[in-house]
Symmetry: C2
Subunit: 97 residues, 2 copies
DNA sequence: GCGATAGTTCGTAAAATATCGAACTATGGA
DNA sequence: TCCATAGTTCGATATTTTACGAACTATCGC
């Protein structure tokens, strides 16, 4: 994997965001990213198998919630907070507050 | 059916709300209730079979988003907007805005 | 080049969800 | 009481989602 595909923020839909956040694992990841800032996948796996975690990150990326960048041998994840705030004002504040 | 069971607002979780709203039919129902005010189930069925619509209303009620009251032969649905606003400030505004 | 580490992808099995027809229930009105 | 209307419940099927092991890929350091 050389680079990840992330949807343009304009293509992100609320429906997909809700779907992504309807899973407790993913909601937990998003909240932890908010509280603690950017983190690698393994810092967020909660002891789950890698393939499971990888799946959840894919859903979060596809939904437009998380941006993943490759940093050497690790992959660093960030909430797309600023873009999301512009696209859906107040949503992430309500979700994370 | 004599009366519906609705969860106490304190038992409502964001996770369940997200699950309920992750379906396009249900998100549509919630938005229409917001735009047009209380409505019967059949006014919100969008041509779908009754059993399908009934299922979606059950999910919306169980998630704490919608309150249904019996009015004669029809069942009237209302967004639990005020309660939701107190429980999750800003959430419904973001969802509906 | 050779490990070691971090994650992805694939295949599959299990669980949850959506959809719909058919039968049922409750209410109001003729 | 009988009928029509509004909606629920049941049962079956099809689709989606989750979870996880195994095999694979990419990068770093030696």
């Amino acid at each position: 994997m050389r680079a990840y595909k992330h949807p343009s923020i304009d293509d992100v839909t609320m429906e997909e965001i809700f779907h992504a956040l309807s899973d407790p694992v993913r909601l937990g990841i998003v909240r932890q990213l908010h509280r603690e800032g950017d983190q690698t996948c393994s810092a967020l796996d909660g002891g789950r198998p890698k393939s499971t975690v990888s799946h959840h990150f894919r859903v979060l990326r596809d939904a437009g919630l998380v941006h993943t960048r490759v940093e050497g041998v690790t992959h660093m994840n960030a909430l797309r907070r600023k873009e999301l705030d512009e696209r859906f004002p107040g949503l992430m504040t309500a979700v994370l507050g």
